[in-house]
């Protein structure tokens, strides 16, 4: 048993290292690229909403970055998850190794990039004369754990089902875009008109993204949001894992 766990761990480490090495090896700017994407997004939104449309949100750049960075982790992992198994056909058909490691390494890789982007958030906090809070020590790992569980669940679901219904690839992209605008990242949840407020409950990522932003900006989080996020994450995991379990023995057949 211990050997099995050791093996599983090694498999994940090596595969994640591989992804990271491959990503950074041939690119000169390496690290910069992984923060360039959310930064450029933040810049675009800043131009559109602050400069052109002049929305009244305090410290808007900081506000954007605090939400966009965790969102990028979520979005990048999930948009690549439908292809996770498809890109590893030759191994899946030959070797009987735990297939869950494939989506896991995708998520770990993006999580790693997210971790590396936190210093950028800190930098912006200082620019706006704020500072990181001590509460991060506890809540940062907690939120990361919840987000990890949620992504893992959705990612198992998408990667398994996409082998059988290839449309999911495209659907995932559209769903992610919709989800992005339905989630209070560009705007604070308080700006949502009263009659639509209650709909926010049905968005599984909303409480999580709100928690991230609150944590980064104020150092506090709403325990209710965290509880709801955790429940959503757990539900996503249970659903994803069950679908994966049901389909995984057919992977080698269909590929």
């Amino acid at each position: 048993m211990r050997e099995k766990i050791q093996y599983f761990f090694d498999l994940i480490v090596v595969l994640t290292q591989k992804e990271l090495k491959v990503r950074y090896k041939s690119s000169f700017l390496g690290y910069l690229w992984s923060i360039a994407q959310p930064l450029s997004l933040a810049f675009v939104f800043f131009l559109a909403f602050k400069i052109v449309m002049r929305v009244q949100i305090e410290d808007y750049t900081l506000f954007l970055i605090a939400g966009l960075f965790p969102w990028q982790w979520f979005s990048n992992s999930l948009s690549s998850s439908p292809l996770a198994f498809l890109n590893n056909v030759s191994i899946i058909k030959k070797v009987n190794f735990p297939r869950t490691v494939i989506p896991l390494t995708v998520i770990l890789q993006d999580m790693f990039h997210f971790l590396l982007s936190i210093p950028v958030i800190v930098l912006f906090l200082f620019i706006y004369q704020k500072s990181p809070s001590l509460s991060w020590i506890f809540f940062l790992p907690l939120l990361m754990g919840i987000q990890f569980l949620m992504i893992f669940g959705f990612s198992l679901l998408l990667s398994s089902l996409n082998l059988f219904f290839r449309d999911l690839e495209r659907m995932a992209g559209i769903l992610l875009t919709l989800l992005f605008y339905f989630t209070p990242i560009l705007y604070p949840e308080t700006m949502i008109p009263q009659e639509y407020q209650s709909l926010l409950k049905f968005n599984p990522v909303a409480p999580l993204m709100m928690s991230w932003r609150n944590l980064f900006l104020t150092g506090t989080v709403d325990p209710g949001d965290i509880a709801v996020s955790f429940l959503y994450a757990l539900a996503a995991f249970v659903l994803g894992y069950r679908v994966y379990k049901k389909l995984s023995w057919r992977f080698a057949e269909i590929l």
């Binding site: 050997e3 090694d10 591989k18 090495k21 041939s26 030959k94 070797v95 659907m171």
Partner: protein, 250 residues
Amino acid sequence: MNEPVIVFDKVTKRYPLYHHMTGGLKNFLFHLPRALNTLKNSKYEALRNVSFTVAKGEALGIIGRNGAGKSTTLGLIAGVLKPTEGKVVVKGKISPFLELGASFHPELTGAENIVLNGVLLGMTRRQISKKTAEIIEFSEIGDFIDQPIRIYSSGMLARLGFSVVAHLDPDILLIDEVLQAGDIEFQKKCFQRMWEFRKSGVTMIFVTHSMESVKTLCDRVIWFDQRTIRMDGAPQDVVSHYKSSAGVHT
């Protein structure tokens, strides 16, 4: 006779034909009744009622025409496929011999690929690092080992691939059509290594179209034809029958 390590008991393997589903979600939903029906009925049979056992330490060759069920058999042994009917029992640690480059990444160096390939084939990092020097030595790749393998020649890739497998510690080795790679000298080395495996009691399953390697390496051959076993016996006999049925006389 030694104890059996691989047992196929009346194994039938049918693949559902997934074309209705790979046609897309829209197709599937629009033609739901028909789609479900085809899902139930349109099956492709790859193996029919196949039974055989392999004893520990045996070297079994599997031959047959394309589509006769050889790869399905390997997949069932490797545990990536499940039988539709019947039972497959496999005891011990299995090492499949990957197609060349199947699990290699072109941007990584030879050494990094050894680790990658090693874990995918079931070794822990510690086991790999113990053997890395040996693997590199065996592969004769020399200084290129620290270069990305996209610049390797196909012969070098073959040597790297074989070297990793040669240093695994399997109970059962699955080899799918790979021994033709590399130059003559390296091939000789491969065959030697195979013999060492045999002497140490490793069970080996070869799937190949090379009748020569079947005759030199195996002590038993199964000939698959039309989803079932056509013949099972000594390499010389089976190979000569197989050749005459294919109309090849040498």
